[in-house]
């Protein structure tokens, strides 16, 4: 929908909602300024926060006949523009929902039925429900910004895992009085008991000085530095694809996000609805490793799957006998002693 059509549709919507003629007239004048600023051929789905910032700072929005507008007028103008954008987005969202099966909205995302999601600025998260486990409560709405054939794409993402879908079971230890015991580390010399939070993970140099993580340079085993890329989360990444469906079968998922469409071009929505799989450059922090991420839509909505290549190759009949160095994980009790301390995890 172009902004001209969007403005007319919104005015019709206001009239149908019984708004007063003066409200409609003010809205019409304000939207005319916005359309003139954006250009009549601009798609409503392409309007992003930066466009609004430029418009709000423009002379048309801050001055009237060469004189500065009153603060109340500026506030009214901004309110009208935001309300119109929210309505456009709601209309766009409704259209996209017909193409993409509905994805779960983040728990803290605004409910479209009562308060349309704001395309231009994330709304304040609603308070999380009272939960026994903090891990279940999403802290805030996180957006995934992408581009598809040059068009902006935005999803609200929320991580899903087994506990959120099916619940969780865990083992606890109780003392004689029925009080829950905590986990701790015991040093091998038996001198120190270290409860959770009593250790610090550091990188130290040969002198024993701690090195901040931001100063670390990742290197190959041969000490050649790896090229470190910037995180992808701060800028829009171009979606790559569509890919063959079995491209994802060369990887194992390490994290899964449910995506809630906010701004999705029609062509991308159609492709996802038809079963296409896209790859998204994804690096959550500065570093040498990029985690492949795949964008796809299933019956339950759109998802982003962060994955690692499994690296398995073809094996021929004359393959050498397998080395027997694989841990017998049947002897590991996967459930007995949770890894609260993240041992063996090199955080960088």
């Amino acid at each position: 929908m172009k902004v001209t059509e969007g403005a007319q549709s919104y005015l019709k919507h206001l009239e149908a909602a019984g708004k007063s003629p003066s409200t409609c007239a003010t809205t019409k004048r304000t939207l005319a300024l916005l359309v003139a600023h954006l250009g009549a051929d601009r798609e409503t789905g392409e309007v992003v926060a930066k466009d609004l910032d430029l418009f709000f700072a423009s002379e048309a929005a801050t001055k009237l006949r060469g004189k500065p507008r009153a603060a109340a007028s500026i506030a009214q103008l901004r309110g009208i523009v935001r309300a119109a954008l929210a309505w456009w987005q709601q209309q766009s969202h409704t259209a996209q929902q017909k193409a993409i099966p509905a994805a779960p909205a983040p728990a803290s995302a605004p409910a479209p039925a009562t308060k349309p999601p704001q395309a231009t600025r994330p709304s304040a998260p609603s308070p999380p429900p009272a939960l026994a486990l903090r891990a279940f409560a999403p802290a805030r709405v996180v957006y995934l910004d992408l581009t598809f054939q040059g068009q902006p794409v935005r999803f609200a993402k929320s991580e899903i895992d087994r506990a959120r879908l099916y619940g969780l079971r865990k083992l606890i230890a109780l003392d004689a009085q029925g009080r829950e015991c905590q986990h701790a580390l015991l040093t091998r010399d038996g001198r120190h008991v270290l409860p959770t939070g009593s250790t610090a993970d550091l990188y130290i140099n040969e002198c024993g000085d701690a090195i901040p993580r931001r100063e670390l340079v990742a290197v190959h085993e041969a000490c050649t530095p790896l090229s470190a890329g910037a995180p992808t989360v701060n800028g829009s990444q171009e979606v790559v694809g569509p890919l063959a469906a079995n491209a994802l079968l060369d990887h194992a998922a390490i994290r899964v996000y449910a995506l809630h469409p906010v701004i999705v071009p029609a062509r991308l929505a159609q492709a996802l609805g038809a079963g296409a799989v896209f790859r998204v450059p994804y690096r959550s922090r500065p570093g040498a490793v990029e985690t492949p991420a795949f964008l796809l839509a299933g019956e339950a909505g759109a998802f982003l799957i962060l994955a690692e290549p499994h690296g398995f190759d073809f094996v021929s009949p004359d393959q050498p006998v397998l080395p027997v160095d694989d841990l017998d994980e049947d002897d590991i009790d996967a459930f007995a002693f949770p890894d609260n301390f993240g041992d063996n995890n090199d955080p960088a």
């Binding site: 939960l131 015991l186 340079v217 998922a253 094996v315 009949p317």
Partner: protein
């Protein structure tokens, strides 16, 4: 130590116990500091059960006296210990006094998907079922690549490999069959072969799917384990 194995059945009514090879993680990387000197990861001690906040609060009774003690005497710092590397450690339970606890009563706590506790019970030992007591059956449940990746989150991947010529023939045939149909097949427990797989003792039950491809005489047969389905958290199980 032995290797992980699975008892598989194929579309021709044959079955064999074959080896599962876990995926290898990327080669470990090292780090240098800004001056190019090597750095290493270490875990050091910040505090102990005698000097952590809870112990100090117990000792001083109220926050105000504790605050005063912190300002006056740095009781939170044990200079003999702070900054030491922990080295290898054992995991233990500690009681409310911070002492290792050796006779804990273990309970299993069940939470629903909203994080609310719904049940406490004595823990049950759930054995792995990759090698069942009876020969497995071919489930015959084929899922296209697209359907499989749109329904399941494959959180684990293993390569199924042979150790002798008979197993090679079995696995190559299975891989060729799946490649020909461009599908994955459901591998599972229970009489119909569609039940969940439990890869190790007390592990979470997972859906198992086999994917196969061939390249000349070589093959690649992968077992994917899905910890959960791709679906809405709100939907009822």
């Amino acid at each position: 130590m032995t290797q992980r194995r699975i008892w598989l059945a194929d579309h021709r009514g044959r079955n064999a116990v074959v080896v599962l090879v876990p995926r290898r993680h990327a080669a470990p990387r090292g780090h240098l500091d800004a001056a190019g000197a090597p750095v290493r990861f270490c875990r050091s001690i910040k505090s102990t059960t005698e000097t952590n906040f809870n112990s100090l609060l117990r000792r001083h009774g109220q926050p105000e006296p504790l605050a005063r003690a912190l300002v006056d005497g740095n009781p939170e710092l044990d200079l003999e210990v702070v900054g030491r590397e922990t080295g290898a450690c054992d995991r233990v339970y500690v009681d409310h006094d911070g002492k290792p606890f050796y006779s804990a009563r273990v309970l299993e706590v069940i939470y629903d998907r909203d994080g609310r506790e719904i049940q406490r019970r004595a823990p049950e030992l759930v054995p792995p079922n990759l090698i069942p007591d009876r020969a497995p059956v071919w489930s015959g449940k084929l899922l296209s690549y697209r359907e499989a990746i749109g329904r399941f989150a494959f959180t684990r991947a293993y390569q199924v490999r042979h150790t002798n010529a008979l197993e090679y023939d079995f696995l190559f045939g299975l891989a060729a069959h799946l490649e020909q149909r461009q599908s994955l097949v459901l591998v599972g427990s229970e009489p119909r072969g569609i039940g969940p797989l439990i890869p190790e003792r007390n592990a979470l039950p997972m859906k198992g799917l086999l994917a196969g491809r061939t390249q000349g005489k070589a093959y690649r047969l992968l077992l994917f384990l899905a910890a959960f389905e791709l679906r809405k958290p709100e939907a009822k199980t």
